[in-house]
């Protein structure tokens, strides 16, 4: 059930991002497949971590260069106030090569589990 839910929310999140112009850079797999490809134990571990919101605020600075607080342009989604789990899932999808945007893959590949938990907690709290 947990897997199904994770798949569903990621599908919705991905669909939002796709509608916002995120092309997935030629990813052929559907978002439902993407979610099933994410390492779910890593997801659970990150969600269970004690997050440092101050660290999250600092890491968020890196995101905010592109993800504006209230974008008019839709090519890069607003992530302020996004659900923590959706952010963690999206970052893991980039980190694990399930989603293909090269900027996001590079960003995500440099984030530790603690950093993902921190930044997702920060944005969730906005």
């Amino acid at each position: 059930m947990r897997q199904v839910y994770a798949g569903l929310v990621l599908s919705i999140f991905s669909a939002m991002l796709m509608a916002n112009g995120d092309s997935n850079e030629g990813a052929s797999s559907s978002s439902a497949e993407n979610s099933s490809q994410i390492n779910s134990s890593q997801l659970s571990e990150i969600l269970a971590l004690q997050a440092d919101i101050d660290y999250g605020e600092y890491i968020a600075g890196e995101c905010l260069t592109c993800h504006s607080v209230s974008a008019h342009d839709k090519s890069i989604p607003v992530i302020h106030g996004s659900d923590k789990k959706l952010i963690v899932e999206a970052l893991l999808a980039y980190q694990q090569g399930v989603r293909e945007n090269s900027v996001m893959r590079s960003v995500a590949s440099n984030l530790s589990d603690e950093e993902i938990a921190a930044v997702a907690t920060f944005f969730n709290a906005q």
């Binding site: 260069t65 504006s68 974008a71 342009d73 890069i76 900027v103 960003v107």
Partner: protein
């Protein structure tokens, strides 16, 4: 270099080390003072990330409006308006409480921790951010000068020069040619000259100027995103753009802006419009404050962007030597956040985290044909080193290139709202 944290500092005072000059906050009179010199991608971002109500932040900037150098090529190519790349500092003042001072910072009294402005006034600081961008070394191209830049614009600083180059481009007739002299490394925006000629060729194409050409005389033997630009030029503007590297022309001997000529060892090139982009160094205040090394740029500590010559000063953006990071608006914005984190920790005792830096440079080659190159960086063995990199590939399909261009539009909105609020 060892720096005192606030805790260590209080401890030192408690032990009776009275010779240290106390930051104003310890006297309980006012908030610690941070001054930021320069309101570009580095300085504006630093001011914004410093100003959280617990510091007295002053931003000194000579221009009332700031025209971004990034995206200015798109204005040259009639893809963006001038207004859309020009921004004000109103929100930094009204929404973030930054004291915005319109003036030119002439001198830094490092011993007295004061910035002196051209109008004779001074501003005291506990910590100082130096983000003056670049100065142009006009005579690095023999025959070129600040006066000559009114005839042959560099347009490598956003604003009046950008508009001047645009006016001169708009005045060209079919059959007129452009000659660009590209800058030597290191310079602001590595793909910028090549995006610019792309936008110049785009303008020719839009106006049906089929007999006009662009020649780039480059002091380098290769350039950023070379494969991508070369492919794009052939695809969109076949026969219009010719790039001549140093190994072919043998050296740039002189320019004559009145005659419209660029003389090299190999040949003399003639254009109705010359765009001369000379060698660059850190903005003059960094030079006069002796923050620069022999390269003309400022050495910093990779973990914090703190100047290697003065622990109370942080140098960010194009003026700094930031290891593997290119000089770009994105880099400056990223460095500003690391500097702000460390300044806040110095003055308020807040937490410090490992420096994380990032950069992406998007370039527009033709209509909806965008490419990008970028990396993440960290402080590794005292240097800013890349931890992962990426670049667009040749042969990508049109849909992906369009998405890349659209991503850059989102980035522009993101970074400018991150800078100016």
């Amino acid at each position: 270099m060892k720096h005192l944290s606030r805790r260590q500092f209080n401890k030192a005072l408690g032990l009776g080390v009275a010779s240290l000059s106390a930051p104003s906050m310890l006297l309980g009179q006012s908030k610690p003072k941070v001054v930021v010199i320069g309101g570009g991608a580095g300085g504006a971002t630093a001011a914004r990330y410093l100003a959280k109500g617990d510091l007295d932040v002053t931003l000194i900037e000579d221009s009332k409006k700031y025209t971004t150098c990034f995206y200015s090529n798109l204005y040259l190519g009639d893809v963006r308006t001038f207004d859309s790349i020009t921004h004000g500092y109103e929100k930094l003042a009204s929404d973030f409480g930054v004291n915005v001072v319109n003036g030119f910072a002439m001198e830094i009294d490092r011993a007295g921790q004061m910035v002196k402005l051209k109008d004779g006034s001074s501003v005291a600081y506990d910590k100082l951010v130096v983000a003056p961008g670049i100065d142009l070394v006009y005579d690095s191209v023999p025959g070129y000068s600040e006066e000559a830049a009114q005839i042959a614009p560099h347009a490598w600083q956003g604003g009046a020069q950008t508009q001047l180059l645009k006016e001169k481009m708009d005045a060209l007739k079919n059959g007129d040619n452009i000659v660009m002299v590209a800058p030597p490394n290191p310079y602001r925006c590595p793909p910028g000259p090549y995006e610019r000629v792309s936008m110049m060729a785009h303008m020719f194409k839009q106006k049906g100027m089929t007999d006009s050409t662009i020649t780039i005389i480059d002091p380098k033997t290769k350039f950023s995103k070379q494969g991508l630009f070369t492919e794009g030029w052939e695809k969109h503007y076949s026969g219009v753009i010719e790039w001549i590297g140093a190994d072919i022309h043998g050296g740039i001997k002189s320019v004559d802006v009145e005659a419209g000529t660029v003389e090299t060892d190999f040949d003399t090139f003639e254009g109705q419009l010359l765009n001369i982009i000379p060698k660059q160094i850190a903005g003059s205040i960094a030079q006069t404050a002796e923050l620069t090394d022999d390269s003309g740029f400022c050495q910093i500590e990779a973990e914090s962007m703190r100047s290697q010559v003065d622990p109370n000063i942080f140098v960010i953006g194009d003026a700094s030597v930031a290891g593997a990071m290119p000089k770009s608006g994105f880099s400056a914005n990223s460095q500003a956040k690391v500097a702000a984190l460390n300044i806040r920790a110095d003055l308020l005792g807040t937490k410090v985290f490992p420096a994380k830096y990032s950069n992406t440079c998007w370039s527009l080659i033709g209509t909806d044909d965008g490419v990008k190159v970028g990396a993440q960086y960290a402080a590794v063995d005292g240097k800013i080193a890349s931890t992962s990199t990426f670049i667009s590939q040749t042969g990508e399909d049109a849909a992906l290139r369009k998405t890349t261009y659209e991503e850059s539009i989102g980035w522009y909105e993101g970074i400018t709202s991150d800078m100016f609020g």
